[in-house]
Symmetry: C2
Subunit: 119 residues, 2 copies
């Protein structure tokens, strides 16, 4: 299936917002905001079986909000900050709509998408 | 069940992010950003049976992102802008964490929560 740029943006937002809709996943993102961490360190604060915790990690990785890599027996997670910009763009777009500046809306969306791509 | 203020904030974020994780619901919010609209007008752009569309409306209403009221046979929906501030607060908090200003984090969160409550 080939998606247009707009469809890709919508798919990305679906995945990001789904990932953010859970307190464990938000807590993991906040922890990774301080720096990378191993799965076992990340799991420690949560009273949760490892397979359940791993589902959260996989969902976060699928959304693009984190990346993971394995060295030996240790899998390390790190935050990906770029997708947060997609959320901020979406929020900014809503404010543009509210302010009735719909004539400038298309121009704004195009400009912010270009800005995100050049990051 | 009595929830603490922090638990209430987490529950609110769960509902908001869940509501935002769907392109139909985001499109409805964008439309309502232009002004209130009836359910039938809102449903028009979507190739969707009314019961399916109503599920999206109920989920949006449950998250606090919209309110609805019925006059005669017409139910009108309107945007509630306040919950968007909770998302912005969460995003800002992440940026504060990234910038390593964790000493000021608690102060910041308290201040923004106070600000939201006084809106």
């Amino acid at each position: 299936m080939i998606l247009s740029q707009s469809e890709q943006y919508q798919e990305q937002l679906n995945g990001i917002f789904q990932a953010l809709a859970d307190p464990t996943r938000r807590a993991v993102l906040a922890r990774l905001g301080l720096g990378p961490a191993s799965i076992s360190d990340l799991a420690k604060p949560f009273d949760m079986a490892l397979p359940s915790f791993m589902k959260h990690i996989h969902l976060l990785e699928g959304s693009g909000l984190i990346r993971t890599h394995k060295e030996g027996r240790v899998r390390t997670c790190a935050l990906e900050k770029k997708p947060f910009a997609a959320v901020e763009t979406w929020l900014s777009t809503q404010r543009v709509i509210w302010e009735g500046r719909t004539d400038r809306l298309e121009q704004f969306v195009t400009a912010t998408q270009d800005k995100e791509e050049s990051r």
